[in-house]
Amino acid sequence: MSCFRKNFNKVLASLLFTAFLSLSSSVFAADGKALFQANCANCHKPDKDYTGPALQGVRERTPDPEWAYRWINNVNTMLETDAYAKGLLAKWKSKMTQFNLKKEEIKDILDYVDAYKPETTDGKSVTGKPAAEDSNYLLYGLLTIILAIVAFILLQVNSNLRKLTDDKEGVRRGEPVPFYRDKTYLMMGVLALFFTGGYFLVQWGIGLGRSKDYQPEQPIYYSHKVHAGTNQIACLYCHGGAQDSKHANIPSVNVCMNCHMAVNKYEGPDVLTHEDGSAVNGTAEIQKLYAYAGWDPVNKKYNDDKDGDGQPDGAKPIEWVRIHNLPDHVYFNHSQHVKVGKQQCQTCHGNIQQMGEVKQFSDLSMGWCINCHRESKVDFPDTAGTGGNKYYNIYEKFHRDMKAGKIDSVTVEKIGGLECQKCHY
């Protein structure tokens, strides 16, 4: 018997271990994806040539498997010394940006790229994913109900059997109480209601004032997937306020017209669909823009200003629906995060270059802010005092600690990023 138990323990331990392993490997894959999106996706695709070559299998085709690791952090020097690097430059005509990534980060990226499989872009498979998750929930729900019914039947059988034995042994008991008046059942029911009700109440309470996944219908079907994804327009082209001010700013119509004076038809390649799967007529959406801008697409000029309000006749601003909204009691400044903190837009706004209609990616809760402030490193000069942001020179203690090897980096938290009055004042 003890032998059996030992074996059982062993099996259990190994099961737990594999579960842990699979969990941790999925975490790495997610890291690789995020790193790839943040650093490489501007110029590289995993499976297709883009501004730079397709990255899938890069470790197999380079002179040695370690080549890519050296290259990413030493582009400038290797371009002068390494023959393969020179060949790359001659072929692709543009020099790669030099990065400063850790070896494990590069490994995560390359692992992600090698494991990457292209998503099919037709509407069905996109909507198929959440449906599969739902059916899982349904399955669990059904299982729970079935188990509950079985338990209930067993309890009934049990009470019937007991009644039989009681009859046989001649024990007299009172008339059995129906289950819905049995105090034990009632108590269990009340407790279950209390806990589930309490859980949902607390979840609802936490969700107050948060609008994660909020995806309002906009006056024009503007696809970030087409503009920022396929056409590779920089985020800051339209949302230039993000580098200079508190607000990222919704561009005014004249910024749209910079390109749409010339681009008056939508011809793909992306297929735009509404939430119900029906197709979006991109050209009609561009016509809507012309109406807002007061632009005459036939004569290719703005309407005359006959009413004298300083704008072409018929022009009016587009009333976009604001999605991301921090409460007034929080101060948030875009330029601080984009310019000084060098954060990618995608860190907070998600994979915006793949969104047809934009939805809120983060819940913008305080815990979410704090978490990032705990993890993000500031652009601190290295131990030799070079590089980084010179502003941080005032933190002498951290410089001493870094030189002494006590710390290897400084997070936002360490320079006061968790102080209440940094954001609430």
Binding site: T97, I145, D213, N254
Partner: protein
């Protein structure tokens, strides 16, 4: 056993509603507690109140708060370069050749900044090296993109180049709302650094070139 039946039916219905009701697109932002703490009563850019309470059109200003973000006529920001006054017509275009770049040679920092601005605002059509091979040009979405490395643009006067950025030209729109006057002049200098060196380069261009050579290739 009627009660039993009712309980079962409600339980099953509740589970079904809970599982099915959670899919679909979230079109409503959700509930907010204490709206007076959440929404600013002061003017905020892009706030929901904008369009209902504020207007920038003078005729509508009677019953709304008139808000015009333009500077008061005749004033300028401290440190800003004087306004560009040539008109947007053929005469102005011809006269622009005489306008001189008010900036000195770009510092190392300035040229890095100019390169960044060029990559954001210009490279999308003109390409990172100014050779008309930006994504919008090569995909054929916008035609007639100028190859800034061509001889005609090398010979083009600084002022004329500025004039084109300020007012737009042909398919190109005006960048006056996206770039400050200083940034526009810096971009003119940066474009000079991208161009092949003309025979008689002014000292300004020459120094800009050496400074930006390293950053030009980036990204």
């Amino acid at each position: 056993m009627k009660l039993k039946k009712i309980i079962w039916v409600t339980a099953v219905a509740a589970t079904v509603v809970a599982t099915v009701g959670s899919c679909g697109v979230k079109r409503e932002p959700g509930t907010i507690y204490m709206p007076d703490m959440a929404y600013s009563r002061a003017y905020e850019t892009n706030a929901l109140l904008d369009s209902s309470m504020f207007t920038s059109s003078e005729p509508a200003a009677g019953h709304k708060i008139f808000y015009n973000r333009r500077p008061v006529p005749g004033t300028m920001e401290r440190g800003e370069i004087a306004a560009y006054t040539l008109p947007n017509d053929s005469v102005g275009y011809r006269m622009s050749a005489g306008v001189v770049n008010p900036l000195g040679p770009l510092s190392k920092q300035d040229s890095a900044e100019a390169a960044r601005l060029f990559n954001i605002n210009c490279a999308i059509c003109h390409g990172a090296k100014g050779a008309a091979n930006g994504p919008l040009a090569t995909s054929g979405k916008i035609g007639g993109v100028a190859n800034l490395t061509l001889d005609m643009y090398v010979k083009m006067a600084d002022g004329t180049m500025y004039h084109s950025i300020h007012y737009g030209k042909n398919n190109m729109g005006s960048y006056a709302s996206q770039l400050s006057r200083k940034q526009r002049w810096q971009l003119v200098q940066y474009i000079r650094a991208l161009q092949p060196k003309p025979a008689a380069a002014t000292p300004v261009m020459a120094s800009a070139k050496t400074d930006t050579a390293a950053t030009a290739a980036k990204k």
